[in-house]
């Protein structure tokens, strides 16, 4: 008897995941309806539905052509009649809206410019409340219950500025499962239960590891969540968790339907940093590109050469990739040999690294642990990050007395129009008869004899070695797919 049920269980657990939707139009911003008929998503900025069985799509909202507005996260009501969704409005922030599945006028449920971001996560079983995340201007995120009929949301809990990746309501409407950091100094997440009446909270999962994206099973007996590259399920009765699927990849769970089908997104592909030679005669990139690092393949981007040409700095992702601000480190790779060093400054987000002219630091666009955005100077020795007030510092002096000033290149008394709106880097051509100037996505060659500026054909996200012969660039892309898995 026992063996039989074990075998049955295993059989169920082992039924392989199936791809449900692939291709360039997949977005992972919505979820399935409880009846398993629809999947909400975003189609060119409009809220849309995909009929899972037929692949038929219905676009619900109607953005005006060229409009700045667009739909973002969405969740379908339990009776499959309404969708709550975030809408980026004309005023420049997100508001919470609800619309009938069969069309009609959307209604605004929550619009508050003090709360620039909203994410509806789940409906209560009776359709009266929408569990929603608010993200305030002062960098506080809040777990709230928003009445579906309108009115002020009830704030249950305020968190620091890094917000849950996902929250879900138990079918009996009494508990919220959400993920947040395991402890104040931890980058790892774990799952908590918060009583909807605000009376209690407890940590649900105490095992070490990165546990996130909790979703309740329809019977309310278990919570299914992503853990590393797999999916696990915790039985609330005995507090034990077990694996449902391993080695799926980069999973972004979307929801569970009444018939216990678990829908999740998969992120595939990735980007890497390559180096390649520039063909001087042609003003074209030439030679065959070689990957700069073999550690953490598919996770690297945005290279920048140090002014002395000894180091290539780039960003590299760590941890599980999910939505929003992923964890990144700065890698410093020696130009010669395999020397590699990692800098993990105390910044929550980093982008667009480039070296300071003295070669002692990297400037990155970023957000600190208090959620303050700005330009930060990261010391390459200590990894200390300090906010710098003047972003134009980035356009400082070149290695050899060529200076970028606004859109202009100045070499001694000579001035050259770069033809770029915001040039940020420059390098001497090897013969020192020209200077390469780039803005991070385009590259031009400026001959010093004032002959016409030449466009250089390069991939985006590049950096030129000060020797003018080598460029490093980012190549590859990340794609999304939707998969389904039967939960035992």
């Amino acid at each position: 008897m026992r063996t039989l049920s074990t075998i049955l269980l295993l059989a169920a657990a082992l039924s392989p995941p199936k791809p449900v939707w692939t291709g360039p139009s997949v977005t992972l911003l919505g979820g399935p309806s409880k009846d398993g008929r629809w999947l909400s998503y975003v189609d060119h900025g409009d809220l849309a539905l995909r009929e899972l069985a037929s692949g038929r799509t219905v676009v619900i909202t109607k953005r005006a052509n060229g409009s700045k507005e667009f739909a973002y996260f969405s969740t379908i009501s339990p009776d499959s009649r309404r969708i709550a969704y975030a809408w980026f409005n004309k005023l420049g922030f997100y508001e919470l809206r609800v619309v009938d599945l069969d069309g009609g006028e959307p209604r605004i449920l929550y619009r508050n410019e003090e709360t620039g971001f909203v994410q509806p996560c789940a409906w209560s079983a009776d359709g009266s409340q929408i569990l929603t995340l608010l993200f305030r201007k002062d960098n506080i995120s809040q777990i709230v219950m928003q009445p579906a009929a309108g009115g002020l949301p009830k704030v249950l809990k305020s968190l620091n500025w890094i917000y849950p990746k996902k929250m879900d309501l138990s079918p009996d409407g009494r508990w919220i499962a959400y993920d947040s950091f395991a402890s104040e100094n931890s980058g790892e997440r774990t799952i908590y239960l918060l009583a909807v009446d605000g009376s209690r909270e407890r940590r649900l999962i105490s095992e070490p590891g990165d546990h996130l994206f909790p979703v309740w099973t329809p019977d309310g007996n278990s919570v299914v969540y992503a853990s590393g590259t797999g999916v696990r399920m915790l039985d609330l009765a005995d507090g034990k968790s077990r694996s449902i699927a391993d080695n799926l990849g980069r999973v972004v769970p979307l929801g569970i339907t009444q018939d216990r089908t678990y829908y999740y997104g998969l992120r595939t592909g990735g980007t890497d940093v390559y180096a390649s030679e520039i063909d001087m005669a042609q003003g074209k990139s030439g030679g065959s590109p070689r990957p700069v690092s073999i550690r953490f393949p598919g996770r690297n981007s945005q290279p920048s050469w140090s002014p002395d040409g000894q180091w290539l700095a780039f960003l590299s992702r760590r941890g599980t990739e999910t939505f929003g601000e992923e964890t990144r480190v700065l890698v410093l790779r020696a130009a010669k040999g395999d020397g590699e060093r990692e800098l993990a400054p105390k910044l929550a987000r980093m982008d667009a690294p480039h070296w300071t002219p003295d070669g002692k630091a990297l400037l990155v666009r970023g957000t600190d642990r208090l959620g303050r955005e700005g330009l930060y100077r990261v010391d390459t020795e200590t990894a200390n990050a300090v906010r710098v007030a003047e972003p134009v510092d980035a356009n400082g002096c070149s290695p050899a007395k060529a200076v970028l000033c606004g859109t202009e290149l100045r070499v001694g008394a000579e001035r050259y129009e770069t033809t770029l709106a915001k040039p940020t880097e420059l390098a001497w051509a090897p013969q020192r008869d020209a200077i390469f100037v780039g803005d991070g996505s385009r590259l031009v060659r400026i001959p010093l004899d004032h002959s016409p500026v030449q466009k250089v054909d390069t991939p985006s996200g590049f950096s030129i070695h000060p020797n003018g012969r080598t460029i490093a660039f980012t190549a590859g892309s990340t794609n999304s797919e939707v998969w389904a898995l039967k939960i035992p």
């Binding site: 449920l109 809040q142 009115g151 209690r200």
Partner: protein, 300 residues
């Protein structure tokens, strides 16, 4: 056309809220001391009970006066027989959301904290067990009841809270300007953040002399003269300011920050000269005044 449904309901919804507007409905309490009506009522009685002091002359409320935002008007606390303490009585609203207690954070829970003033020779000067037996309770019962009551002292629903909740008329133009400075040029939000306007963490802002502050308990030199960031709720009603009551007015506090705090080897790296104009200083003070709202106590 889309309709902005629900906004007319704002005022009604604010009135219905269970906790004052701006606070979390979830009020943390330890697993072994969940809030109950009985404990809260008992704790409330004890809070005003002078028997908890050796000579029966003072109660918790003597230093944490409900009419003064649960603080007092003195630069430093005054215990039994006119004994002068070394630190200022803090406002104790919203401590339920706190992470550590006292200016130096030496108590990890409110249950632990409430025994402190009872036993402190400069305050109530009575062994906690003795205080408990005077009121026919066990020490644990006394601590749990007092802690439960303190958890119900909740301050919110200020003009600031209404503004943040979406009522654009709740702050006048000057206070809105002050809020901008608070979040931006003033850098106040680096420490005074969240619903309770505190990071519950310790910083040296260059106030006071001779008090080691957090360093005494953490043993870390960098915590020298670092004190816990106080909540700024109802701050306007309780001068003088800081852990030693050494700063007389809100204008003086703003001046202190404008100078970048007082220079010393342990000064927090977030502080620097602000170069605020006189109008900006006035705006910041106007904003600080908008943090006064209603204080509710004693109910679940």
């Amino acid at each position: 056309m889309t309709r902005a449904a629900g906004f007319v309901l704002l005022a009604a919804a604010i009135a219905q809220a269970q906790v004052p507007l701006g606070l979390d409905a979830y009020i943390p309490a330890p697993e072994n001391n969940p809030l109950s009506i009985e404990k809260i009522a008992l704790g409330r009685k004890l809070f005003f009970d002078k028997r908890l002091s050796r000579d029966g002359s003072i109660a918790c409320a003597s230093c944490h006066d409900p009419n003064l935002a649960f603080s007092d008007a003195r630069p430093v606390a005054l215990g039994i027989a006119g004994r002068k303490g070394t630190r200022r009585s803090p406002r104790i609203a919203n401590r339920a959301y706190g992470k550590s207690f006292f200016w130096d954070g030496r108590a990890a829970t409110l249950e632990e904290q409430v025994g402190g003033p009872i036993a402190n020779p400069l305050e109530m000067d009575l062994p906690v067990a003795e205080a408990a037996s005077r009121v026919n309770l066990s020490e644990t019962e006394l601590r749990r009841a007092l802690a439960s009551y303190v958890r119900t002292i909740l301050a919110g629903d200020s003009p600031y809270d209404r503004f943040v909740a979406g009522d654009r008329t709740a702050l006048n133009a000057q206070a809105q300007e002050g809020l901008k400075i608070f979040r931006g040029k003033g850098g106040c939000i680096a420490c005074h953040l969240g619903p309770n306007l505190t990071d519950e963490s310790f910083h040296n802002t260059g106030v006071g002399a001779g008090d080691e502050g957090r360093a005494k308990w953490s043993g870390r030199p960098e915590d020298t003269a670092a004190f816990k960031t106080p909540s700024l709720r109802d701050v306007a009603s309780t001068p003088p300011y800081m852990h030693d009551g050494s700063v007389a007015t809100l204008e003086d506090v703003v001046e202190h920050y404008n100078r970048g705090g007082r220079a010393n080897p342990y000064l927090d790296s977030e502080l620097h000269r602000l170069q605020l104009t006189d109008a900006e200083k006035r705006a910041l003070v106007a904003f600080l005044k908008s943090l006064s709202g209603t204080i509710r106590e004693g109910s679940l």
